[in-house]
Symmetry: C2
Subunit: 332 residues, 2 copies
Amino acid sequence: MKKLLMVYAVLLCLLFVYVYNYSRGEKAASNEGGGPLTGSLSEKFVMVTFQSGIEYWKSGLKGFEDAAQLFNVSVEYRGAAHYDAHEQMTVLEQVIAKKPAGIAVSAIDPKALDSVINKAHEQGIPIVLFDSDAPGSNASTYIGTNNRDAGAAAAHKMAKLLNGKGETAVITQPHQYNHQERTKGFKKTIEQSYPEMKVAAVLDGKGDELASKKQAEALLKKNPHIKGIFTTEANGASGVAQAVKAAGLTEKISIIGFDKDKKTLDGIKDGSIAATLGQDTWQMGYWSLHMLFLSSRHFPPDMKTARPLPSSIDTGITMITKENVEAYYAND
Amino acid sequence: MKKLLMVYAVLLCLLFVYVYNYSRGEKAASNEGGGPLTGSLSEKFVMVTFQSGIEYWKSGLKGFEDAAQLFNVSVEYRGAAHYDAHEQMTVLEQVIAKKPAGIAVSAIDPKALDSVINKAHEQGIPIVLFDSDAPGSNASTYIGTNNRDAGAAAAHKMAKLLNGKGETAVITQPHQYNHQERTKGFKKTIEQSYPEMKVAAVLDGKGDELASKKQAEALLKKNPHIKGIFTTEANGASGVAQAVKAAGLTEKISIIGFDKDKKTLDGIKDGSIAATLGQDTWQMGYWSLHMLFLSSRHFPPDMKTARPLPSSIDTGITMITKENVEAYYAND
């Protein structure tokens, strides 16, 4: 009987310990689910682009997904198939109608999308711009390359390549804000810092390899003094390199491209392109989701006037030349 | 005997359930500790400033603490008591010796601290700059106001106040990077955009109300054409306002200050200071801890060349004038 009592005592003790631990576990578990930095898979964050099929967006989407995994939320990728502002507006309208947890959009046009972006904002849907800004909109922040600075960096590199002398040209997409900024940064820097250099022409390459090639061909016929060409987007440099090669001027004209798609890297490797400015598109997607997730929660309620999000996040650029090009293959 | 056996059986069952649950709990707990967005209180993140006693840092430290709470990590506040680069270097050395989980430092000097900052970086201690950058160091990122842009915004505001005409002066701290940038942004913008304006003098206010007042007194005696004064730091504007008032020129000279300490806000309210540029110091601390925490984990291992952190985070500025000054009292 004494033994039995002891067994019961031990049993009771164990039961007590068990219940105590179980209730602690419950508490921890509920804290985990509703905790500050874990969402739920029913929260959907949408990335909206244009020319949505091109390879360029892949790395940004990967960053967006990587951050979503961190916060345990879902993502969706949407975009206008073409280079068409109206199409992107329609897609964005459709996305807003579904009331997602947040939207990251790269704006094809710095003004056309303002009203739709503001609509999301008014409905309380967090919205951020990435890669290409719409600075007049009410979006919370811009995440991407500081394109003015990138254009300036291209100008300094060009000046080095040309020993500070000679005429240059820019081939760009004149309607898109990020390209306008790159062009401005390049032009202003040449004008202010290199008195023996000149930006002789700014041309529309339509974001297309063939169109950029044709523009370069026409340019070289019209202006034989051109010593350097800066293309502000991914598809331009390889097109320009073809035109320069066809004219037999590869040794005489320096080309600086933008982004790190395979054709541009190949051009750097074979010497037909002098340099390219690598953007960190993974970071653009990663921090976009980060900002969207955080903007819907986690800010102290006593903040009256402070903006909850940074004014902008500069994801930086890297100058890629023959010296370091190998490291950039198959990295995105 | 049968009863006793049954009791043992129940006991064994319970023990089994208990052990099973306990091990699950262990797993959850260890997952929590090593999980992507939860740290442990043994991870200490240190904020290092200079003139560490001034009110200016309070809001940044609050942001640092708020983010630490989110990630369940600890913070410590350290700083040089005086405006002394050597003292700050010593403090930073002491902090590094303790091998903290990360360091956020506001650099009193853009170059003097480079070697100590790089030492932390070499030892694998995440280190970021906030508020005042050391752009030549190997720190991962800079979080704070884009001070060049802020100086430009002050210039545009000054031009509005003076209808685009007249001589101006800057009272600054000439050895600190953020103040150098503000001065540059102001000067360049006046020179490039306002041909009928001029920056007639750039003076050292030593970050001090009285020193700034004395500089303004001397300036007004020497140059009766001054129509506007831009002070690049928190203590300057109220000192300059006293000098201007004593000279009976309050109606004739427009003062633009920096930051939103009480004296400056009072000056805006009573009309002796025209405007001030409010920084979001809470965000500086908040995102500093964020970047430090994330830089030590959570980046995909397959990233070879991409930088893990943004090049910089611009926490933005707000133009504070008589119209909106009330909202900024007691907000930090």
